[in-house]
Amino acid sequence: MSQGKTTLKAFAMVAAATVATGAFADADEDQLTINGEIKIVTEAPAPAHMEYVDTIYSGWRYRSDETQAVQMDDFDNPAMIFVESAAEAWDTVEGDAGKSCASCHNEVESLRGVRAVYPKWNEAAGEVRTLAMQVNDCRENEMGAEKWKYSGGDMTAMVGLISSVSRGMPVNVAIDGPVQSTWERGKELYYERTGQLELSCANCHEDSYGMMIRADHLSQGQINGFPTYRLKNTKLNSVHARFKGCVRDTRAHTYKPGSPEFIALELYVASRGNGLSVEGPSVRN
């Protein structure tokens, strides 16, 4: 083993020790109801495929009361600004076919339940599709419109709109059958250490959730709340943009939003939230 490798290992251990010695603070006991009517399940028994976790928690449970409150009323939730703009896009005709989303799907409420089961297998295309991929497939092949940038503002707002009508429904992503190999690849990526810090998703979000990483309260890294409005950047953030940020923070070259790796990882991480409610667009720090 080279000297350099040893040094990096030591650095990673210091990083891990910093996490481990931080104050421990479990998920809180608060209950989430949005607009006084949409009951959100923020705690559920872990799906059978998770070997090391008994109970899954929404990231909402790890946030401060002030941040939690912002998500409890759609008027207070700034993510809804983006959802409203997507609702306008929903009705806007674009492309050669002279169609809008509404031309085929009528009201966005007709897509209730969709967010809960994505990513999912598309038989005709023979691929695992995320919601963003499906939106672009509609744009390209049904509307004859330009594809949106995978993790761009238009796309993330539209995914937020589609997610919003499924809030309160249980996440229920299939992991077997034709998606199984992609799911297995996602699981590999979840446990694969990356970057100079040699950290995997699991190091923080499975081994250390509930602990403080410096001043931040580590969640389980659930994605039932995506897209999410972050106080940090005051915009709606996609799942893949968040993955990219995390991988970058391990001091690694990251995969690209929309890449096969992140699609597989999204499927796997989504399946770790099976049983929680769809919560997006959520509010986080």
Binding site: R63, S64, D65, E66, T67, A69, V70, M212, I213, R214, A215, D216, L218, R230, L231, K232, T234, G245, C246, R248, D249, N285
Partner: protein, 139 residues
């Protein structure tokens, strides 16, 4: 300042150092802003309530609320921001509660200060320290 052991200990802590280095200029700007609002009058306390989180998860969006029954005007200040002024609320005849809530930016851990001008011309002041945290891995 008399150099007692306690003072030395306090000065030795990094938090105190940060405030000793960074605060005086801002603090005097804040004092100036308060003086401009009150005209130099004494401020009382007890009839004004300032609600702010003890710890803010992000300084970009910190929820604060202020209420002072009988106030005609309330100004909000943040003594660690590049400029301390945040907002000034003037209440009209149809204001039911002399107060408001909003979301503010704080450049770091600092005091949020509310000063109310009351109907009788007196002033009330409240102060709350908000610790602004930095995310775990900056991501």
């Amino acid at each position: 300042m008399e150099l007692t052991r306690r003072n030395v200990v306090v000065l030795g802590s990094s938090a105190a150092l940060a405030s000793a280095v960074g605060m005086p200029a801002f603090a005097s700007l804040t004092d100036d802003a308060i003086a401009a609002f009150t005209g130099g009058a004494e401020t009382g306390s007890g009839a004004i309530t300032l609600t702010a989180p003890e710890i803010a998860e992000n300084g970009n969006t910190v929820p604060v609320g202020v209420e002072a029954p009988g106030a005609v005007e309330i100004t909000l200040l943040a003594d660690g921001n590049p400029t301390p002024a945040v907002a000034t609320f003037k209440f009209g005849p149809l204001s039911a509660v002399r107060g408001a809530s909003t979301r503010i930016r704080l450049a770091g851990t600092q005091n949020v200060i509310a000063v109310a001008k009351m109907e009788d011309g007196s002033f009330q002041m409240a102060k709350a320290e908000v610790k602004v945290t930095i995310g775990g891995c900056g991501g």
